[in-house]
């Protein structure tokens, strides 16, 4: 044992000399987390990050067996699920962690909105966060197609057709998104490249910026707490908050394992470009509120095609979300804005109600 210890301390001294950990030590010492009644929301970003790491790890493992072509994709996933030892586990965790990640990301987004943590100087942190939301949704959309099953095929047909509805550039966008005029094997290889290379690279860059900014500006104290005279209590990030984070991550891992074991990811039947869309076709749950909205819109609104109105509406809403730090003038001055809070709560209620309807409304009437 003592030999092991001398060996370890020797390695420590070597790394200290060659790399130097002064910066890290200083950062760890400096970083603390304010303690108040909204402290719980600080865990959601870290939770999303953890689930992203799970996605990267399981995604790399899936690449060992997956074959990106219309002829082989479905069969390779089938083989992975049925024959490969623990193949079902890796794919189920990848599928569940994706859903949980988007869920915690939404919670993170709305909690940041409600405690108004996007105010200066954290506006750039907010913009990068909205960028990461867009990347996560793109991950979900492109990943959904990869097993090349019926559900995915039609979800992609509809999803890409939407880009075609944009005025002027629509047809061009549609062709670029699909790699042709229809959803084919060309779409699959394109989505594959985006899913496993383009999006991870972009995410690494923007996530790096996001995390750097969080370190630079520290944790935001909510407006309401600030107005009550602020908080004097804080806990050190290392080790107090980090250990609490770790507990949360372990819980998330346990939930993931349980979900993967009891409700493994389904595969369904292979995509057939010459079969009708099956009844009960639906996108991933996080696109459901938009999908359901498109169902309710009439074919024409004021002479414009209903789908176009819906799509432009959601694009506009996305733009508003991005520009929140600019739009919330009162928040920027450190005043609370009841109207703003109610708009956010309204948006949350809309998403929940439409998502609920998407799963319960009879799809055939």
């Amino acid at each position: 044992m003592p030999r092991m210890q001398t060996w370890l301390s020797g390695l420590g001294a070597y790394l200290e000399d060659r790399i130097g950990f002064d910066g890290l030590r200083k950062l760890a010492k400096k970083k603390d987390v304010p303690v108040h009644r909204h402290t719980i929301w600080y865990y959601l970003g870290g939770m999303t990050l953890f689930l992203f790491i799970v996605q990267v790890s399981t995604g790399i493992l899936l690449l060992f067996y997956y074959r990106p072509s219309a002829e082989e994709a479905f069969e390779s996933v089938q083989f992975l699920m049925a024959e490969v030892t623990f193949g079902w586990l890796i794919r189920s965790i990848h599928s569940w962690a994706a859903n949980l990640m988007i869920f915690t990301l939404f919670l993170h987004l709305f909690s940041v909105l409600l405690v108004k943590a996007y105010r200066r100087p954290r506006d750039l942190t907010w913009y990068s966060g909205v960028g990461l939301l867009g990347l996560a949704l793109a991950f979900g959309f492109t990943g959904y197609l990869l097993p090349w099953n019926e559900l995915a095929y039609f979800a992609t047909r509809v999803g890409t057709e939407i880009t075609g509805a944009f005025p002027i550039v629509g047809d061009f966008l549609l062709r670029v998104a699909r790699g042709g005029t229809d959803v084919t094997g060309a779409t699959l290889t394109r989505f594959y490249a985006i899913h496993v290379a383009v999006l991870p690279a972009a995410t690494t860059a923007i996530l790096g910026l996001h995390l750097f900014l969080v370190q630079k500006h520290g944790m935001s104290v909510p407006l309401s707490v600030e107005r009550e005279g602020g908080t004097r209590r804080a806990m050190p990030f290392v080790p107090n908050f980090l250990l609490r984070d770790l507990v949360g991550w372990l819980v998330a891992l346990a939930i993931l394992a349980a979900l993967a074991a009891f409700i493994p990811a389904e595969l369904g039947s292979k995509a057939d470009p010459f079969a009708p869309a099956p009844a009960g076709i639906k996108p991933e749950w996080y696109f459901m509120f938009m999908f359901q909205t498109l169902k309710y819109l009439p074919s024409h609104i004021l002479g414009i095609e209903g789908e176009l109105v819906g799509i432009l509406g959601f694009t506009f809403a996305g733009l508003l979300l991005l520009l929140v730090p600019v739009l919330d003038r009162r928040g920027a001055r450190g005043e609370s804005s009841k109207v703003f809070t109610w708009i956010i709560i309204g948006a949350i209620v809309y998403i929940i109600v439409l998502t609920y309807l998407g799963y319960t409304a009879n799809p055939t009437v």
Binding site: R157, D182, A275, A277, L294
Partner: protein
């Protein structure tokens, strides 16, 4: 060039100083870089845009099943070139064919014998047996084809 002759120092250095102070130099330099960037971005961008595929040439197809294979109040999907089409035999017995691509967001439609409509499962669009929209979000009727029965063959062609 007037200031070139008046500036102090040996002529060659004076020329270099003049050259360095010119926006022309900056312009050339920056467009050189601009050109380089364009030379990289343009091919990469064009690479991502897929080649234009020729429009499906099929104007007429002979279906791989005979008229007896389709009963009254039944619909079948067939290949019309690279696109799906739908053949429906109405309750009264006549055959009609349409493009099976929904005019809303491009899903493939199916025939619903229970209500006698052509139906799209994606956003609940209903079409009647003339291809017209009766309910739901589709903005336009389905494109209809001409059906001819020649012996035991069904021939579907694009309308004139």
């Amino acid at each position: 060039m007037a200031e070139l002759a008046q500036a102090p120092g040996p002529p060659r250095r004076r020329f270099i100083e003049w050259l360095m102070s010119r926006t022309l130099t900056t312009w050339l330099l920056s467009t050189g870089i601009g050109g380089l960037v364009a030379a990289i971005i343009y091919p990469a961008g064009r690479y991502i845009v897929p080649p234009e595929a020729g429009e499906s040439a099929a104007g007429t197809v002979t279906l791989p099943f005979s008229p007896e294979d389709i009963q009254p109040n039944e619909g079948k999907i067939f290949k019309f070139g690279s696109r799906p089409g739908i053949l429906v035999r109405s309750a009264t017995g006549d055959l009609r064919a349409f493009s099976a691509t929904c005019t809303h967001l491009g899903c493939i439609v199916q025939y619903r014998p229970d209500i006698g409509h052509i139906w799209c499962a994606c956003h609940n669009g209903h079409f009647d047996l003339s291809g017209h929209v009766v309910q739901g979000p589709p903005p336009e009727p389905l494109e209809s084809f001409v059906v001819n029965v020649r012996g035991d063959q069904i021939v579907v062609s694009k309308g004139a």
